[in-house]
Symmetry: C2
Subunit: 357 residues, 2 copies
């Protein structure tokens, strides 16, 4: 058993684990975290300490525990800050409303403060830059502010309530962090890194596929390029953005140091998507009913294959250098290969020039 | 004031409102909903009815209230079903665990049930088809199940607790639905419809821009096509999918009947994205340092412009027909225009054929 666990662990580290296995591991981790947090209810000494507030610990675990460590951390920190800010401002508003004489005018003061803060925080949630990183925190701020300010009119011991609740939320957070970061952690940063490296490989395969299909002889007909991999690269933007967003919250681990340049991955992704567009646009050429004759195809085969295969090789080289995190020796490795290609390209007669002659 | 309200209303109906205005309206709506739900605390007769359970109504409003009516409904229904299912199964598990003799073995039974249900529900959340539509419901299921089953060991009156909580959640849901659907509703379906129609216009503009840039004379140099609109079409996939997802939950309203074919919008979007790829791949041609001579350009200008402008016109015609929801009379309007274009294209010498000659 220990051996199989270790093999899972090592394959996780190498990022080679099957997606299904990762899902099962995540589910088991959530189960463990919930059992741990349920102990606040189930064990008498713990229950005597926290009482019914243990509910908040359970709620925290259910709501915060996300697939990657970065997402969990981001949600947890957002929740913590939102709760404290909302609780603090809520207490202040409740005290101010208490100063107002008369039950009705006090209720009006509370309603007004609820309206203003809720509307302002909701508006901020619609601003893209805030939405991307602090959406959840703003929601928790609204919730806590509202709960504290309205119960402030009722309960005299808001402060004690707030302290108890915060401490149980903290306990829930601690359980989450423990299970998420220490038991087979799934890092968003690893996934982002892996996805950036595999994109190069996918595009290289696509280029090779296009070449093969275009220059196949009549009796080989039937082979078609699978453009779905190209499409996945094309549609990877939102996924990349959220991964980079979570990766920023993740602490120093493995090969990634502090203030690691995550936005570079987004820039690389943007460039690769442009390349994917170019490759995908060859689909129209490959599927067009009017095709060049096979003699013409044969005459351009050699330079085309030279260019295409050099490109694919360069992409693989770049992807490899990202995987092993070594600076790609472009001057030594890639330039000497691309230079003759450029020459070859300039020698190929430009179709429009031929048309002009 | 009434007049300005009416003008906002009419511009909302026509989908012409500025995005900022829509954001402000949404924020105000959230504020109103929260003030309404706070009345459970603030008004004595209501508070005597529901007591501290009013907290659940506030929480429901904060968590459920989303930008579009469809998203609010989807979250609300998910929350309702998740709570009932989780509560029901939680009660059952609590009663079964109670049958087990001994405090410790009962606690073990509870822990086991928490682990199994939490892990299973978490795994289901990772399945794409469930994640897309029932993610929130599954989360609420885990939360409610866990809370009910662990407090079942403590509280003898779980049923009463569950009933009270469900009824306050229902009240919160009712307030949400009232504010979201009846006060200036923002329909995801309207947005999806509008976005599909404008995509045609955006691509038509891009085609015209490409033509203009390619055939501009030397002294006009400097005009460049704005490919960002093309890019927004290219990256619209995830947004379209979530809108279509929410639109399915929205009740019959305006021009959209029951079982409206929302997936058709996704198919149209997919085709338009392929077209956007083709247009975007012209960027390389426009920005290439080797350009055809201006005499050659002039010689192909006429057929190219005929083709490009006919395409742009066809796209506008199709977009228009989606906007006004009338079947586009393709046979009468579009075919007679595209037929000569096809002839013209077959007459243009194929560059590769020229090369062969």
């Amino acid at each position: 058993f220990q051996f199989s666990l270790r093999s899972i662990g090592s394959s996780l580290v190498e990022g080679k684990c099957k997606p299904d296995m990762i899902k099962v591991i995540h589910s088991v981790k959530v189960g463990i975290a919930l059992v741990l947090v349920s102990l606040f209810y189930l064990l008498d000494p713990l229950y005597e300490e926290v009482g019914d507030n243990a509910m908040w610990a359970i709620m925290t675990v259910v709501v915060i525990f996300e697939f990657s460590a970065g997402a969990t951390l981001s949600k947890g920190i957002n929740r913590g800050i939102g709760t404290m800010l909302g609780g603090g401002l809520g207490c202040l508003a409740a005290i101010l409303a208490d100063e107002v004489h008369g039950r009705i005018s006090s209720a009006i003061a509370v309603s007004t403060s609820v309206f203003i803060f809720a509307a302002a925080a909701t508006y901020s949630r619609l601003v893209p830059s805030i939405k991307r990183r602090y959406d959840y925190g703003a929601m928790i701020f609204i919730l806590t502010f509202n709960l504290v300010v309205v119960s402030g009119v009722r309960a005299d011991e808001v402060m004690k309530l707030a302290r108890d609740r915060l401490s149980t939320i903290g306990m829930g957070f601690a359980v989450c962090i423990f299970t998420s970061l220490l038991v087979f952690p799934m890092w968003a940063s690893d996934e982002l890194h892996h996805s950036a490296a595999t994109k190069f490989e996918k595009l290289a395969c696509c280029i090779e596929g296009c070449l093969e299909q275009y220059f196949q002889t009549v009796d080989e007909k039937g082979k078609t390029v699978d453009f779905t991999t190209c499409m996945t690269v094309l549609h990877s933007k939102s996924n990349d953005q959220s991964l980079a967003n979570f990766a920023r919250w993740e602490p120093w681990h493995g090969k990634f140091g502090f203030s690691y340049p995550w936005e570079k991955y987004l820039e690389i992704g943007e460039d690769l998507r442009e390349l994917a567009v170019t490759i995908f646009s060859m689909k129209g050429c490959l599927q067009s009913p009017t095709q060049a004759t096979s003699t013409l195809k044969q005459s351009i085969k050699e330079p085309c294959e030279l260019v295409g295969l050099s490109l694919a090789w360069t992409l693989r080289e770049l992807g490899e250098s990202i995987t092993i995190m070594k600076k790609c020796r472009a001057k030594v490795l890639i330039f000497p290969k691309l230079q003759p290609m450029k020459l070859e390209l300039s020698r190929v007669p430009f179709p429009s020039k031929v048309g002009e002659a």
